[in-house]
């Protein structure tokens, strides 16, 4: 059974007793205007439940769940060891968990139970092996498979072009949505399946294009008590390595101005802000300009913690707010299927880095 970390009450109370210098940086608060979803608002409710002064109900659970997990609040937080997103999560799924679900989660949780993807039925037969020796497992992730299968195809072609021996497995969801929605039995099932399939592949590395999958395999699996026995590598760094080694050689793209949107996890958790820019810079012909908030100070797209599915209005409002940070004449590139999906809109097409790299390396 997947383990859950205990709530660190001292840290939760640090937030609950603070006037919240981070309020200006909480996208959920800023778009909803609700005190109940302010960082300290959520921390207070969670703390009162943990101390048994309150009991979970749908209203409290909905408010405390209104966290994108973007960690933007950490930028100004005076408590260096406080990770409020995780404390709130552990408060509602841990020892004093909520024994109820939000109706907003139910259809996706049911999909996850039935199809191992929150988006519903997946095409079967995705398992394949390229090359005589399997160097990596390329883990596409449910969101790319559901919303942008082209990026998966492009990744495979790039790997083939670079002569990488890779395996694709019959993927189960990495498990993080199940944790978000509080079903730890399901987390265990998904994690066990993925561990087995990855181990069976014989690969030494696991490459993920999705930052949520990366964080799950890299941080959550060990915390849940599952050992993958492979090195977990982020997609942008891996493909940058292939470019640096000369195994991929991008040609010029006549796309004009383009801005890179830093996904929160890559920038603030993985501390990866230079690699995507170097990858973008390796493609001749692009004029890369920074958006207003970039690097570790990036603003969330609204796609974290499955918000696009469970709280779509809030997610859309956060995305609209983020789009204001971009030059309207610039295309947007990113390295996350959630961000791509969130920022797609009236302002034009949003590319994943892998798609741009594929256009630069394959389309001629």
């Amino acid at each position: 059974m997947a383990k859950i970390k205990k709530v660190d009450m001292e840290q939760l109370l640090n937030c609950a007793l603070c006037p919240n210098l981070c309020r200006c940086d909480c996208p959920v608060l800023q778009v909803t205007g609700r005190e109940a979803v302010a960082p300290a608002g959520k921390a207070r409710q969670a703390a009162l439940v943990q101390e048994s002064y309150l009991s979970w109900n749908k209203e409290l659970l909905e408010a405390v769940s209104n966290c994108l997990g973007c960690r933007n609040c950490t930028l100004l937080c005076p408590f260096p060891d406080l990770n409020l997103c995780d404390e709130l999560l552990h408060a509602r799924i841990g020892e004093k968990k909520a024994d109820i679900n939000l109706p907003e989660w139910e259809p996706y949780l049911n999909n996850l139970k039935k199809y191992s993807s929150p988006y519903g039925r997946k095409e079967s037969g995705m398992a394949e092996v390229n090359g005589d020796k399997v160097d990596i497992v390329y883990f596409a992730g449910c969101t790319s498979l559901a919303n942008n299968v082209n990026s998966v195809e492009m990744a495979k072609k790039l790997l083939q072009k670079a002569d990488v021996g890779y395996a694709m497995i019959e993927e189960d969801c990495c498990g993080y949505p199940a944790e978000t929605w509080g079903d730890m039995d399901l987390v265990s099932r998904l994690a066990e399946e993925n561990c087995r399939k990855i181990k069976d592949s014989g690969a030494k590395k696991l490459v993920t294009s999705c930052p949520e999958c990366w964080q799950t395999f890299n941080e959550r699996y060990p915390a849940w008590g599952y050992e993958l026995e492979v090195e977990v590598v982020d997609g942008p760094s891996y493909f940058l390595g292939l470019v640096r080694e000369g195994r991929l050689n991008p040609h010029s793209l006549d796309f004009g101005k383009i801005s890179y949107h830093d996904p929160c996890i890559w920038a603030r958790t993985a501390n990866m802000v230079d690699e995507p820019r170097e990858l973008l810079g390796s493609i001749p012909g692009l004029e890369v300009i920074e958006p207003y908030a970039s690097g570790k100070e990036t603003h969330c797209c609204g796609g974290g913690r499955m918000f696009q599915l469970s709280f779509p209005e809030t997610a859309a409002a956060v995305a609209a707010r983020r789009l204001n940070d971009f030059n309207e004449n610039a295309l947007i590139a990113t390295a996350c299927p959630f961000c791509r999906e969130a920022l797609q809109g009236e302002k034009g097409q949003v590319f994943e880095l892998i798609e741009l790299l594929a256009k630069a390396c394959l389309d001629r």
Binding site: R34, A47, P78
Partner: protein, 487 residues
């Protein structure tokens, strides 16, 4: 509410059928998605950063609960919501971001909280006259950020910048850390727009000065929600400063530093930041300076030629008082850490009672008020620390800011009351004013009679004429006693 959390100072509540009626009609006016009786919303809009709320939170209480929260999007909706509240005689508490420190938003009589955070836009910027018109629910840091992106500064940097709204600043007559150059919020304000309890929307003229009778819109500065709801303001702005100069000096005695800054103000020099710390706070904030001398940090900004001349004048003045020039690094350190209030969270968890008390003095009693208040606080059993600094200075005086920490044991609320009693009585005995910029809220209302004398009666008459049904923010500004919160 599904849960039954205990309230400590709930005086009364509105009959549920009236609240239901209000909720139904409000939903018709602004949409049901912006009207909430949700438990999470009621719990979260019931308090501010009043230390007593934190003490109670750790014991599982809240001060009092509202019965409904509404989020208007514009002044017309505020007008409709207030008119409805006035007709049904439902108490109303305006709410920004809850950074107040005196319980100013505690809904002692229940009723409706009007949360203004959906009114969060800059409406226009007038470059020629250097003014911005902004909605009152805008977060302070986002306001300054948007101005910076357009090439301006709002010149207002309270320690709560990141957790307060423009409307909150106006409602409590806030002061920013750069106030010596840019002024307090009342100096920065050109005009205000507000809605009266009967729904009337009115605004002042956005011109620099008038001689057309009293500026009635300015009546709302410091009104703390008892007269109506501030919905927007036109504020002064400045082009981003060309250059900054920073200096730190130390003095052997606090009085020497005080005399130096008095003469700086008398000379006409206007540094943006002037902060003079007693030796205890100097040691706490700037450990490398030690705790034997009193530190003064200065930040001057603006046109390079002007500020270079100001710096010369300042250096000449401070040199007369045996000051030691400690360089600019300490100011940089302060700039980086000036919003950090993390110590409060930690101390509350350790059983401490911590608060800050700011008062307004003239020069003749600036030092004596510090001494008398510090002695009064230190004489209380349980007090571990009572230190001070001066952080907003004027030609006619300065703001004195005391920080006190005590470990009183079980009776934390009783101790909290005793420190305020001691501080306010000693402040009044020195003829200083009981607040410089935190405002009155719920708790400090108890000394409004001593502060204003007959002036409080005038304020009550103004309140009665504007708010006949007494719906606006009951129990605040010393207008009415709160029986469950006696002195």
């Amino acid at each position: 509410m599904g849960n039954h959390i205990k309230t400590e100072i709930q005086e009364k509540q509105v009959a549920q059928k009236v609240i239901d009626q209000y909720a139904h009609l409000a939903a018709d006016l602004i949409g049901e998605d912006r009207v909430s009786a949700n438990e999470a919303d009621l719990l979260s809009n019931c308090r501010d950063f009043w230390p007593v709320s934190n003490i109670w939170m750790l014991e599982g209480y809240v001060p009092a609960l509202p019965q409904l929260v509404v989020w208007p999007k514009n002044k017309e909706e505020v007008s409709q919501l207030l008119k409805l509240a006035n007709e049904l005689m439902v108490p109303v508490v305006p709410f920004g971001e809850g950074s107040g420190t005196l319980g100013g938003v505690v809904p002692v009589n229940g009723g409706v909280v009007i949360d203004l955070k959906k009114m969060n836009r800059i409406i226009s910027i007038d470059d020629e006259s250097l003014m911005v018109t902004v909605e009152s629910g805008m977060n302070g840091a986002l306001y300054e950020e948007q101005l910076n992106r357009a090439g301006y500064t709002g010149g207002h940097f309270p320690q709560s910048l990141r957790c307060s709204t423009v409307g909150g600043w106006l409602a409590c007559r806030a002061a920013g850390q750069f106030s010596t150059r840019y002024g307090k919020i009342e100096d920065i304000t050109v005009s205000l727009e507000a809605v009266l309890p009967d729904g009337t929307i009115f605004s002042g003229r956005s011109v620099p000065r008038t001689a057309t009778g009293p500026r009635l819109d300015h009546l709302f500065l410091g009104s703390e929600g008892i007269l109506g709801v501030i919905t927007a303001a036109t504020l002064r702005i400045w082009p981003l400063p060309e250059k900054r100069l920073m200096d730190t000096f130390t003095f052997a005695e606090l009085e020497e530093g005080l005399e130096a800054i008095r003469l700086i103000m008398r000379s006409g020099a206007r540094p943006a930041v002037v902060r003079l710390y007693d030796a205890q706070e100097t040691g706490h904030h700037f450990p490398e300076l030690g705790d034997k001398r009193c530190g003064l940090i200065l930040l001057i900004e603006g046109n390079e030629k002007i500020i270079t001349a100001e710096r010369e004048v300042i250096k000449e003045i401070v040199s007369r008082y045996g000051s030691v020039d400690e360089g600019e690094e300490h100011v940089r350190h302060w700039l980086e850490n000036r919003f950090n209030v993390s110590v409060a969270s930690k101390l509350f968890q350790k059983g401490a009672v911590l608060d800050t008390i700011e008062v307004s003095t003239n020069w003749h009693n600036a030092f004596s008020t510090y001494k008398v208040m510090q002695n009064a606080l230190m004489s209380l059993e349980g007090t571990m620390l009572a230190s001070g600094h001066y952080s907003h200075v004027y030609p006619d005086g300065a703001a004195l800011y005391l920080t006190t920490v005590g470990f009183p044991g079980e009776d934390k609320v009783g101790y909290y009351k005793r420190i305020w009693q001691a501080a306010m009585e000693s402040c009044l005995a020195e003829n200083a004013s009981i607040s410089h910029h935190h405002g009155i809220g719920l708790h400090r209302g108890q000394w409004m009679r001593e502060e204003h004398g007959a002036g409080l009666d005038l304020l009550m008459r103004v309140k009665q004429s504007m708010d006949r049904n007494e719906i606006m923010n009951p129990g605040k500004l010393g207008i009415a006693e709160v029986s469950k919160w006696p002195k």
